[in-house]
């Protein structure tokens, strides 16, 4: 504490403005080669009415160093995996290897056009094919499409495959099967994806133990309208659905199929395979389990893996191998169609294959073990101070609640914000929705014991602060560029873009002043 001394508020770095507020007319930050062909009058080429007439108003004019400083400064306001542990439950924030980035930047891939001829893209197709083979082995599900761009996209793909399969199987009668069962603990994308595929959603309750309620499932399956079940396993509470086989049987017997949300596959890779459990179709999040970077919100890659039976329904084109040649197979009449232009988020496939190959089969399993071990270690370390709503030992992530702290008025949100002061990214909070004040902690395999101990110590210290000095926690974070923002006000009167004021040009403003 530097008491009595006013802290500086004009530090340029935390006060970096919007780029539009830095723009100065006439500044440039690029240089292109001079035009090397004869120039025609633009009016001769394009009718005046089709030409832009606003001189790109508002688009900034800045120098290269302005741009660099702008982004470098802003970047310093972010937390990131490379800075420290990022224990966001369900999000699997594991270390993103720079080696994989290097692979993705190899010119033979980075400069490759997706519409070049098949024979000129053999290396690229081989990558897709090899990754498909690895994922098939890991999931135990042989039919694969890498086209979906993210988890939710994979869900939509998988659910549409289920629908196409049922319609093909049941003919006109298929239209009676328009119910998708989804546990109350599921991620929001599950119902949204089911809806996109034209299903109505029925919610299955969880038991006190945190698992799917079999009785409720049976009850819901009794009406002949069930197209399928969407289940996350381990579920979003971090618990393995140990009745999975039975669950699949119940759904199958009711004429439905089982979709597994594979966002938590990092608890299973090398240990157990959805295909062996009776699951029909699954999506993976390569941006979770296979460590492709999250990039502040994406890109992802959400491959859809399914049984042999469902394979004909996968999106086209499929990537297949004939002898030593890789081919694009467009000719799949049962296919649900294309879900994305070209081949999906290809760059993520390169990274995921690199991940798979550098880990090797042993390493993949070791990563799973470490992820689960680390979660267990945290579970162990925090039970004395936090309420753990489910007794069973967790898999790769563990859920706690704010039950004890809330007695003092300290809630999950406050605990999360206070963690920031200790140098950690908060855990996932208020998810899954069924746990009041949920704190879902997923350390991943990318932390060592030292960092785990620091995290546990921080959490314990916060628990103590919640008793001794709740204000400290309630007003957290104390050390960031900005404090808690008024989100309600922001939503009430949303300002979603910058707008030019009469004069924001820096030089003009200066000249006036």
């Amino acid at each position: 504490m530097t008491s009595g001394i006013t802290k500086v508020t004009t530090h340029i770095s935390p006060n970096e403005q919007l780029i539009f507020e830095r723009s100065q007319s006439g500044r440039i930050g690029y240089r292109l080669p001079a035009l090397d062909v004869e120039e025609s009058s633009v009016d001769d080429l394009i009718p005046k009415a089709f030409q832009r007439d606003d001189d790109l108003a508002g688009v900034p004019e800045v120098s290269e160093v302005d741009v660099v400083r702008h982004f470098i400064r802003m970047s310093t306001w972010n937390y990131s995996i490379d800075v420290g542990m990022y224990p966001l439950g369900s999000c699997t924030m594991k270390y993103n290897s720079r080696l994989n980035e290097r692979v993705a930047r190899i010119a033979g891939f980075a400069n490759l056009h997706p519409l070049a001829d098949e024979e000129d893209i053999q290396g690229a197709l081989q990558v897709i094919y090899e990754l498909q083979e690895c994922l098939a082995e890991i999931t135990g599900l042989p039919g694969i499409s890498l086209q979906p761009a993210a988890g939710a996209h994979g869900e939509m793909t998988g659910i549409m495959i289920i629908r196409a399969f049922l319609d093909a199987r049941d003919g006109a009668a298929g239209s009676a099967r328009r119910t998708m069962l989804i546990p109350d603990s599921a991620h929001g994308t599950n119902p949204a994806s089911a809806h996109l595929s034209g299903f109505s959603v029925k919610t299955i309750r969880s038991t006190a133990e945190g698992l799917t309620d079999l009785d409720h499932l049976r009850e819901l399956c009794a009406h002949g309208d069930v197209a399928g079940l969407m289940l996350t396993n381990p579920n979003t509470l971090g618990l393995f659905e140990r009745n999975i086989k039975q669950i699949c049987d119940i759904v199958h017997e009711a004429g439905g199929l089982v979709y597994m949300d594979g966002a938590n596959m990092n608890a299973l890779v090398g240990v157990a395979r959805p295909g062996d459990m009776g699951v029909d179709v699954i999506h993976l999040n390569l941006h979770k389990t296979f460590s492709t970077p999250h990039g502040g919100g994406g890109p992802g890659c959400g491959p859809c893996c399914c049984t042999k039976e469902l394979e004909p329904f996968l999106p086209v084109p499929r990537i297949v191998k004939n002898d030593d040649t890789y081919r694009l197979d467009h000719n799949e009449p049962k296919s649900i169609g294309r879900v994305k232009a070209f081949f999906g988020n290809y760059g993520m496939m390169l990274r995921a294959l690199a991940y798979t190959l550098t880990h090797g089969n042993d390493g993949l399993r070791e990563a799973t073990e470490a992820a689960v071990l680390n979660a267990r270690y945290i579970a162990d370390g925090l039970t004395s101070d936090y309420d753990k709503p489910f007794d069973s030992p967790p898999m790769h992530e563990v859920v706690f609640t704010d039950k004890r702290q809330s007695r003092k008025g300290v809630h999950t949100l406050d605990i999360a914000k206070r963690l920031i002061d200790y140098g950690f990214h908060p855990m996932t909070i208020y998810f899954p929705l069924i746990v009041q004040g949920a704190m879902l902690i997923e350390p991943t395999e990318s932390v060592g014991r030292q960092e785990l101990d620091q995290f546990i110590a921080a959490m314990r210290s916060i628990a103590q602060e919640a008793v001794e000095n709740p204000e400290l926690v309630l007003n957290a974070p104390h050390d960031t560029r900005i404090g808690r923002l008024d989100e309600a006000a922001a939503a009430r009167k949303p300002v979603l873009r910058w707008k030019q004021e009469p004069s924001t040009d820096y030089a003009e403003k200066q000249a006036k002043a």
Binding site: V42, F71, G198, G297
Partner: protein, 434 residues
Amino acid sequence: MLEAIGLKSAEQLFDSIPQELRLQRPLNTPAALSEIELLDKFDRLGRRNAAAQRISFLGGGAYSHYIPTIVDHIISRSEFFTAYTPYQPEISQGTLQTIFEFQTLVCQLTGMDLANASMYDGSTALAEAVLMAERITRRSKVIASAAVHPQYLEVVKTYVQHAGIDLELANFDEKTGQSAAALAEAIDDKTAALVVQSPNFFGCIEDLKALADAAHAKGALLVVAITEAMSLGLLQSPGACGADIVVAEGQSFGVPLSFGGPYVGLFATRDKYARQIPGRLVGEAYDKKGRRGFVLTLATREQHIRREKATSNICTNEGLIALAATVYMEAMGKRGIQEAAHQCLQKAAYTAKRIAAVKGFSLPFTGPYFNEFVVRGPLASSELLSRLAKEKAIEGGIALSRFMPDRANDFLVCVTETNTREQIDSLVSALSEL
């Protein structure tokens, strides 16, 4: 550590998985490679992509534009690249402010009121736009131009198949290569939206203003798709023409070809439709001390709150690619985008003129174009292009027969600021030698 939590073996970690469901053997995937071996493997694979090594005139939804070096430098910053979705605004302002800038830039370029934080790509953005138009108008018929990128149309078809939407195609004019007239004609009172791409798949610029007027006259929306975002540097913005929803593929702005992805979908609309937009939105917000910051906002549209009633199922989007596009737009700036667009136009015009002068070659469409145009050759374009590639190491264009079997001799040529006159001249002389 196992000991510390009272376990004896790693296997015990998995006690909650029934024994019979556990894999009893090692995974049958390859053994671990070292860095040296891995790079060697991918280097070899990369070299098997012959197309990446050639002079190229391929476009059709994926464009070779110059990428300033700083783009990759900035997106490779650990703080951007290894961050998650900015759910904790206090330690995510870097991401949030850049998204706010991205949204603003997209609005400025498209001429629209507001834009979201990105969609997967142009094709899925278009599909979402169609669904949104249905939600807004509560009408079920959607008329799309047959000159929209064929893969975009396929994706739209997939997305709408269970949404009770009737998708009709309106043909393009065989002479001009434009489709506005046919679209305007097909409209009726049940039409939710007209869907058009401009420049369209053939490179021809559509009359958006006329289309917007026609759509609005019937209470329908105009949805405009753009695959070549660079055209916005020079062509009238869809917003100024009256479009209601504009989607675009942002790949042209600083994103490598990368065999088709990851790219980034731009999605913009009118203020009045703010609560119907899919995807994330970042808005301005203030803390207790009155300091400006940014947050994810209007989340009640989204799946994590609204579940099956959300405006879309999208969660993970294309954050890092949106960042790349943001850096690109800011680094190039107003003048850079204008100049790149101008060079595309000029070089394409030069190329078209030169090719049209080669015996046996002609330009079947008369509509104005930006940097892509269709060429009709003297033999099947698939054969012609394959010879061009093998004999001259030139990727000369995209055979339209891949998408439209009846257009055997037509191919799509794209020219950008990265194609030097030397390359163009070598294409022309190669064509004349074939």
